[in-house]
Structures are given as C-alpha cells and as structure tokens.
C-alpha cells in the first residue's frame, strides 16, 4: 500500500508537470527502503506507460520536432548505456548522496526560477 501511495503522489506531481521522478526516487528510498539503484530502475519503468500515452496525444497534435528528436536520440542512446553502466559501478551510498545533491540543486532552481 505504501508503494501505491508513493506512486500516487509522484503521479499527481507528474500529471501537473511539476516533476515525477524527483519525488518518486527519494520516496522509494527514504520511505520504503529500496536501494538507490532499484528506485532509479522503477522510475525508468514508470516513465514508459506515461510516455506512451502522452506521445500518442503529442503525435496527433503534431508537437514533436522529429529532426531534433532523431539527432538527440542517436547521440543520447550511447550515453544512456554509458550512464547506466557507470551507475551500476557506483556504490549505492555514493550514488544516493550524489542524487541528494542533484535534488538540492533542483529545489533551489524551483525557488528561484520565474
């Protein structure tokens, strides 16, 4: 039940366009005791159904810039593999602390952006 509620709260924020993963990952780690790596894995899985639904709508509304997309995907797939591999080599405690630092930067950004 706790897992469902964490997903629900992250989903609300995601649906409002405020941010989903930045709430989901710390929620899973701090409240339900998953490892940092597992929490990140769930966030990746979580993104797929949400993305499929919104992409169907965006394709219909012709909002996707395909040229930008193709070049970014070709460049980004290798670094995604690399980044994920790097995460797998990183100690859980260190990865969690780096993620914490990233959250603090995101929090400061939320406060100061117009």
């Amino acid at each position: 039940m706790t897992l469902f509620i964490i997903g629900f709260i992250a989903g609300i924020l995601g649906g409002m366009g405020i941010g989903g993963g930045t709430v989901l990952i710390p929620g899973l780690v701090l409240i339900s005791g998953l490892s940092q790596h597992q929490a990140q894995g769930i966030n990746l899985l979580f993104f797929i159904p949400v993305a499929v639904v919104s992409l169907i709508i965006h394709i219909k509304n012709k909002l996707i810039e395909y040229k930008l997309m193709i070049f970014a995907v070709l460049a980004g797939v290798p670094t995604a593999f690399g980044g994920a591999y790097l995460a797998s080599l990183t100690d859980e405690n260190i990865l969690r602390k780096i993620f914490g630092g990233f959250l603090i930067l995101a929090g400061i950004y939320e406060w100061f952006k117009k």
Binding site: I9, G14, F46, L68, G76
Partner: protein, 122 residues
Amino acid sequence: MNKTKHKKIKAVIIGLLSGLFNGFFGSGGGSLAVPLMTCFTDTEDKKAHATAISIIFFLTGASIYVYYKKDFLDFNAAWKVIPGGVAGGLTGAFLLKKCPVKILRKIFGTLLLYAGYRMIVS
C-alpha cells in the same frame, strides 16, 4: 543552411547530456532537455516538452536494458508503484486546472531540499 547545421549540433549535445543523466540517475533527462531546448534551439514550450518525451522514451529504453542486465529492476515493487502513478497522473492533470501551480512549485522546491538533505545524511 548554417542555422540547420547548428540546430543539429545542439540536438546532439542535448542528446548526449540527457542520455548520461537518464542512465546515471534513472531520471532527470526531461528536466534537462526541456530548458536546453527552449533556451538554445528556440523551440516553443509545448513542442520542447513533447519532443523531450519522445527523446527520453528511447533513452529510457537503453537505460532499462542495462538496469535489467545488472538486476536492478524490482518488478514486484514496480507493479504496485506504477498503478498508483497512473491514478495520480490522472488526478494531477485534473487538479492542474484548479490549483495555484506557483505556490505548489515553492512547496515542491522545499520538499526537494528536504529530501536531498535526507539522502545525503542518511
């Protein structure tokens, strides 16, 4: 001609950075790609948002492959979290019309600062 070439290079840089973030943090590719696109490629907000999702969709596929191979995917937990997320997503989209997003962002920012602190000290 020159302008389209620049746009391609910018798209490549956006892809490289978003991919690295997506793989390493299992998130955050979008919060990086959207502002980069609106700032540097003069793409309007809505299109940047939609295009970012399309890019991150593929990047996430690559990241998931590695997380799966390294046995970081807890499917038991995922089956409980994801339905909650879908229900929450629909609720959020509905609430969006009724809530003052500006104040919510400040609350959200404060929550992030607190969560970040806890992640570092725990």
